[in-house]
Amino acid sequence: MPQNADHVLDHLELFRGPEYQQMLAEKKRLFENPKDPAEVERIREWAKTPEYREKNFAREALTVNPAKACQPLGAVFAAVGFEGTIPFVHGSQGCVAYYRSHFSRHFKEPSSCVSSSMTEDAAVFGGLNNMIDGLANTYAMYKPKMIAVSTTCMAEVIGDDLNAFIKTSKEKGSVPADFDVPFAHTPAFVGSHITGYDNVMKGILEHFWDGKAGTAPKLERQPNEKINFIGGFDGYTVGNIREIKRLFQVMGVEATILCDNSDVWDTPTDGEFRMYDGGTTLEDTANAVHAKATISMQEYCTEKTLALAANHGHQVAAFNHPVGVTSTDRFLMEVSRITGKAIPEELARERGRLVDAIADSSAHIHGKKFAIYGDPDLCLGLAAFLLELGAEPTHVLATNGSKAWAEKVQALFNSSPFGANCHVYPGKDLWHMRSLLFTEPVDFLIGNTYGKYLERDTGTPLIRIGFPVFDRHHHHRYPVWGYQGGLNVLVTILDKIFDEIDKNTNVPSKTDYSFDIIR
């Protein structure tokens, strides 16, 4: 009996004892109808081969371990970035349980969201009554300032009309006639979570700017000197938005952060649960129409939203999740150009410190090969950073990346000698990545938590940067944008590199001559 009260063994150790090992071996032998171990080994080896890779890449229908989620997740992400706003998802209720769990597992925070709880009768008759009752209940219970409505695939397949439903609900008194209920159709079978983010951002801005679904006059734009800033769907939103606010403050830029979830996903533990915290005020959201420009940090998260801003006469600028020296330079210089505010010496010094840090450490990164996967913009931002570190982003993969995105990544490769042997993989999944890592090995893999399965199978060390990260804590609290953020990413990469060197040089009298205390 291995268990004892003084040193309680949990699953990490308990089952390794002989009692359990024998029990599990017998279970397998007698009852599981196991495959011949030699055959398992043969297939395991075969799955590493170029031949398997070819079959794997010939897949036309099956998706295995994708690196993307569905539109409604992005919809919820966008909605909670506004002051006092509760996302209301019209469709099946199980979806909402999933989004809330997903965000809570990443941010380690509550994630509030309601559903219209449509069931079979609603599938037949439509979900109008669910909308009428649901809005009334949400309004009464959770006292939001705004309810942002999006959809699940169920509501989309049966063709529920959000505009008409919300109008009817207001007529029935579910919420006051002038209460803000922006909406967006967010079918799960189109695009991915970044599309859902875009649709809801556009829906909310349209609501405030263009006459609240025909219930108010459209706002007349009276251009001012402010700029709008949109971060996009970002696992680092807490640290990043705060860092961006600091940068704008240092520069003296007056900006409206459209969708600011840096507070709602980082509330204090002090005895009070804050269902709502921070967020872009509704007033600022409306007034954002008057801005001279709208800047997006993630082009592929904001294609429709930026088009809307451009149609309202804004200058628009889109970046690709800028990480590192050059990308941050470009971002700040563009902000400076648009606002006419000079970049202060303070930021030049921050820049110099990042350059200094890279110079100190680049010998350890230079020439290393990396595989990256994640959302399209994040992949671009990280690949650009690796190139400026003298590393090679050998495989760059985005399950939700388009052909246009792939061309942009290729152009980035072409811009650097370190990009010469790099390839981009739009629309592929992590099972494709597995074949890539076996057939064209790299030194490190950068991706989200699911990458740990690739690390286990291929032995490629995983550096966790992306969304979701469930199995490491608190990294979302630190920025990856700005020079400060670039430093964080640099250190994250370096820590893994040094850990690997130590791990590979620690066998006494065999390899430990290289177990250096100075690196």
Binding site: N33, S92, A123, V157
Partner: protein
């Protein structure tokens, strides 16, 4: 810690009744009427908890429930390790449930086992418009080519499948024939069916009946010699290894476990189960259906048991043994005696730190009642409990065997209700899920996830109880909870605030 602790039962009941009235006030009239039926204060001697259950959630209230797909793919089928479970429809459902339930298993993932992988047909608009049957058929072909050691395939339907009129049964039959009788199971667990995960469990059970049991040829050669002591563990999902720390006890008492449903389970084990002499059923809610079916069709009796905490474990071991001869009965006594010193040591260590602490629960299938005994073994008291997706038979079992007079009962609790109840009752610990965890921790209340064991476990069996006790202690007695209040802010005595 509890500042509102009161020991007078009449007082507690009055407080709880007032509390129910108070939370109902927030709702529009129609909703208040509906929700009132789900909330109650337990009266001693009643045969159930006096609440309505297993009916539709009210729209817009923030129910904690999931869907039928979650009940089938996430709970029943997902852990069957040597089959590939296709999340059929858009990408999200499979993504959010990917490896999230900690169903432990032994195998070479991606080669002969597939639990922690996400296989999906990733529906696009054209699949909705033109139907997804052809894509599904092609997906099965590609699975056969790339994962040749899979022992079977299931099709876990997401919402659109039933709405666009796809015929997944026809695809499954055709492909099964093409692959020489391969087990391919279509499951109609679209998320809009039923009112919670619960119907998904039932549909998944029925799918095993129709597409696994009924497909076994009558003349199929047995894979092993049966013995008089063969049992199957039904309704244990091996979360953090629960089924393993249960199995070891059954085997130590002389029984032979021929199948695990479904944690660390395999298709061969499902197929062998009709040869069991007894089905032992842990999660009644999710697997009573197949147990009843096997009783009717194969004459296999089934026996509910509870492996949380030494009192219930001993009771259960004796109950299971009562179906067998003296050899097994003696075996049960031997097992109980063997672990007694461990249990004594665990209780001696932790009970003094936990004595008198109060707990509020809100969980899924069996835990709102099953874990009560384990808390009581540690001297703790469960003062409120409720089921996400329980039925009346769950509440009957709860009332008859578990909860005390005056316990607050809340079925399909809403976010608002749960916060208010905790704010007013001020328990020392809340046990619920990931969506609730941070809400209560922000309020300064210690919390343990009672679905995933908060990434710990196992909690089943004697080995598991030691972990359970350690975890409850570390939650309640963590120094951090004394630091939640800002010292320089002169606030009135401990008030836990829910969101307004």
């Amino acid at each position: 810690m509890s500042v509102t602790k009161t020991h007078d039962i009449a007082e507690i009941k009055a407080r709880n009744r007032a509390l129910i009235q108070e939370v109902l006030e927030v709702y529009p009239e129609k909703t208040a009427k509906r929700r009132a039926k789900h909330l109650n204060v337990q009266e001693a001697g009643k045969s159930d908890c006096g609440v309505k259950s297993n009916i539709k959630s009210v729209p817009g209230v923030m129910t904690i429930r999931g869907c039928a797909y979650a009940g089938s793919k996430g709970v029943v089928w997902g852990p069957i390790k040597d089959m590939i479970h296709i999340s059929h429809g858009p990408v999200g459902c499979g993504q959010y449930s990917w490896a999230a339930r900690r169903n432990y298993y032994i195998g070479t993932t991606g080669i002969d086992t597939f639990v922690t992988m996400q296989f999906t047909t990733d529906f696009q608009e054209k699949d909705i418009v033109f139907g997804g049957d052809k894509k599904l058929a092609k997906v099965m072909d590609e699975i056969q080519e790339l994962f040749p050691l899979n022992n079977g395939i299931t099709v876990q339907s997401e919402c659109p499948i039933g709405l666009i009129g796809d015929d997944i049964e026809a695809v499954s039959k055709a492909k099964s024939k093409e692959y020489e009788g391969k087990t391919i199971v279509p499951v109609r667990c679209e998320g809009f069916r039923g009112v919670s995960q619960s119907l998904g469990h039932h549909i998944a059970n029925d799918a095993i009946r129709d597409w696994v049991f009924d497909k076994i040829p009558a003349d199929a050669a047995p894979r092993f010699e049966t013995t008089p002591y063969d049992v199957a563990i039904i309704g244990d999902y091996n979360i953090g290894g629960d089924a393993w720390s249960s199995r070891i006890l059954l085997e130590e008492m002389g029984l032979r476990v021929i199948a695990q449903w479904s944690g660390d389970g395999s298709l061969a084990e499902l197929e062998a189960t009709p040869k069991a002499k007894l089905n032992v059923l842990h999660c009644y809610r999710s697997m009573n259906y197949i147990s009843r079916h096997m009783e009717e069709k194969y004459g296999i009796p089934w026996c509910e048991y509870n492996f949380f905490g030494p009192s219930k474990i001993a009771e259960s071991l004796r109950k299971i043994a009562s179906y067998f001869d003296d050899k097994i009965k003696e075996g049960a006594e031997r097992v109980i005696a063997k672990y007694q010193p461990l249990m004594d040591a665990v209780i001696a260590k932790y009970r003094p730190r936990l004595e008198g602490k109060t707990v509020m629960l809100f969980v899924g299938g069996l835990r709102p009642r099953h874990v009560i005994g384990a808390y009581e073994d540690l001297g703790m008291e469960v003062v409120g409990t409720g089921y996400e997706f329980g039925h009346n038979d769950d509440y009957q079992r709860t009332a008859q065997h578990y909860v005390k007079d005056g316990t607050l009962i809340y079925d399909d609790v809403t976010g608002y209700e749960f916060e208010k109840f905790v704010e007013k009752i001020q328990p020392d610990l809340v046990g619920s899920g990931i969506k609730e965890k941070y809400v209560f921790q922000k309020m300064g209340v210690p919390f343990r996830q009672m679905h995933s064991w908060d990434y710990s476990g196992p909690y089943h069996g004697y080995d598991g109880f030691a972990i359970f006790a350690r975890d409850m202690d570390m939650a309640i007695n963590a120094p951090i909870w004394k630091m939640a209040k800002t010292p320089w802010k002169n606030v009135p005595e401990q008030t836990l605030l829910a969101a307004e």
